[in-house]
């Protein structure tokens, strides 16, 4: 995969970074919390490195400059919807220009633990105009492959509860609830009932992903399967893609 291609943007792009050559690949894994995303990413990372690829890991809220500020504001429940949306966009922009683009130029496989689709879905669930979010991320580059781990919300609850119980037993449990405040849509007050709120929020996220799937060419993976099954499916699809150089872009609209 030494051949290079020109980086494509979704919208207006970054005007001062035009005609950039990428020798690498950008692969995204989307999915809700407790969908097994992080485990899948780390398994993929090992697999790709074992096959001789240089891999860079990235994800949401990982900008050195901005991530702590987001976390702090979230913990204090200070973020209103538009502010949250733009804060995450700033975090993403910093990583895109300072990490992702340089790695692609250098020929890395960039593995992203979530990308703009989660952010756009969150915005839409919070009733931010979809066209507005689409414009906001016009500076994002088009990935080569986008996967979405689709998991039933009831299964997510079971996994989240199991995880916190294990953490509790090991004495590292530090959350107030086993379900996350924002991931349950509590900032927008879906319901007084935490469980009901979580399910309702996750169903709405699922619907948004269903919409995004067609528009952005997202490949859905059945995340209700066990870890090995999911990993095998991902590896199979990535292998197939890496063997056929350079028509990935034609697959996406």
């Amino acid at each position: 995969m030494e051949k290079s291609s020109i980086i494509q943007y979704y919208g207006h792009g970054i005007p001062y970074l035009k005609n950039l050559e990428s020798k690498g690949k950008l692969i995204i894994l989307e999915g809700p919390d407790s969908s097994g995303r992080s485990s899948q990413i780390s398994l993929l990372n090992n697999y790709l490195e074992a096959n001789g690829h240089a891999v860079l890991n990235t994800g949401l809220r990982r900008s050195e400059l901005i991530s702590e500020g987001i976390l702090e504001a979230k913990e204090r429940h200070l973020l209103r919807k538009r502010t949250m949306s733009l804060f995450y966009a700033a975090d993403f922009a910093d990583q895109l220009e300072n990490k992702i683009i340089p790695a692609l130029k250098a020929g890395y496989i960039v593995l992203a633990d979530r990308y703009i689709y989660t952010l756009m879905a969150r915005d839409a669930v919070r009733k931010i105009n979809r066209t507005w979010s689409h414009n906001l991320y016009g500076f994002a580059i088009k990935p080569d492959l986008i996967f979405y781990l689709d998991v039933d919300p009831n299964e997510l609850i079971r996994r989240a509860f199991q995880k916190t119980t294990e953490e509790l037993l090991r004495g590292i449990f530090d959350k107030d609830n086993f379900l996350d405040y924002y991931e349950s849509g509590e900032d927008i007050g879906f319901s007084d009932d935490l469980l009901e709120s979580f399910i309702s929020y996750q169903m709405k996220m699922k619907y948004e992903f269903y919409r995004l799937q067609k528009k952005y060419g997202i490949i859905k993976i059945n995340g209700n399967q066990n870890i090995e099954q999911v990993q095998n499916e991902l590896r199979h699809k990535i292998d197939k893609f890496l063997k056929i150089p350079f028509d990935s872009s034609t697959k996406q609209k």
Partner: protein, 239 residues
């Protein structure tokens, strides 16, 4: 229950019309724009004092003052690692935070909201920094248009003189050093600020700016500002 009555049957709370009035904006939004050193902050400060002196509910919101964002922006500036897109989005985050938590709710509550810099600052600066103009405009499309926009017009040399009389050095980003316009910081500042003025001038008609000559003395400028204010907003108070 829509109405809450006390024992003698008098209504103490009526929530009947809350939903209907949800988007009613009762307050007025007055903003100032201009380059650093144009005198705009002094003028909006005096307007704020005057309103408060006359017991009018007023609130002043300043650019880049959100407590959740400003430390990040200043750290990024110090390290000189902010790209134009990140810079632009951090300012948008700052604006959104002040807008969602202060400006918009206070306008609905009937306050006169004053803003030292508003979306036009972002339009001008981010466009000069190389962001796509249409992208920026759509980004800020959630913000209400002001009732009055005062634009303080001053030549770049006068503005620079005012800034340098207060402190000895120009800062990296205010001089636009990130744009590689010149190695000399003063020369870079001149070019950068002139380009911002150019952007502002382009907006004066389309965005309905009230232009104030920023070279006039402070008292005269404030007189013009209050005159315009009274012509737009009914005001019963002392001068």
């Amino acid at each position: 229950m829509r109405q809450i009555k006390n024992r003698s049957g008098n209504i103490i709370t009526n929530t009947k019309n809350i939903k209907k009035d949800k988007y009613a904006i009762k307050g007025k939004l007055i903003i100032v724009e201009g380059i650093d050193g144009s005198g705009k902050s002094t003028q909006i400060h005096l307007l704020d004092k005057w309103l408060r002196f006359n017991n009018k509910p007023a609130f002043l919101s300043e650019w880049n003052s959100s407590e959740i964002v400003k430390n990040i922006t200043s750290r990024g500036k110090k390290k000189e690692q902010l790209t134009p897109t990140t810079f632009s989005l951090l300012h948008a985050t700052d604006f959104a935070d002040r807008y969602e938590r202060n400006i918009f709710p206070l306008l609905r509550a009937g306050y006169t909201v004053l803003a030292d810099r508003y979306i036009y600052t972002a339009y001008a600066r981010d466009i000069v920094r190389g962001c796509n103009p249409l992208w920026i405009k759509k980004l800020y499309s959630f913000a209400l248009k002001p009732d009055i926009t005062f634009y303080f017009r001053v030549p770049v040399d006068i503005a620079a003189g005012r800034i340098l009389s207060g402190r000895p050095k120009l800062k990296y980003y205010e001089a636009g050093m990130d744009l590689n316009l010149s190695n000399d910081i003063y020369e870079s500042y001149r070019i950068f600020q002139s380009r911002i003025i150019e952007q502002y001038e382009k907006m004066t008609t389309s965005e309905n700016f009230t232009v104030i000559d920023g070279t006039l003395n402070i008292e005269k400028q404030q007189e013009l500002v209050r005159e315009k204010f009274k012509s737009v907003i009914s005001f019963d108070g002392e001068n």
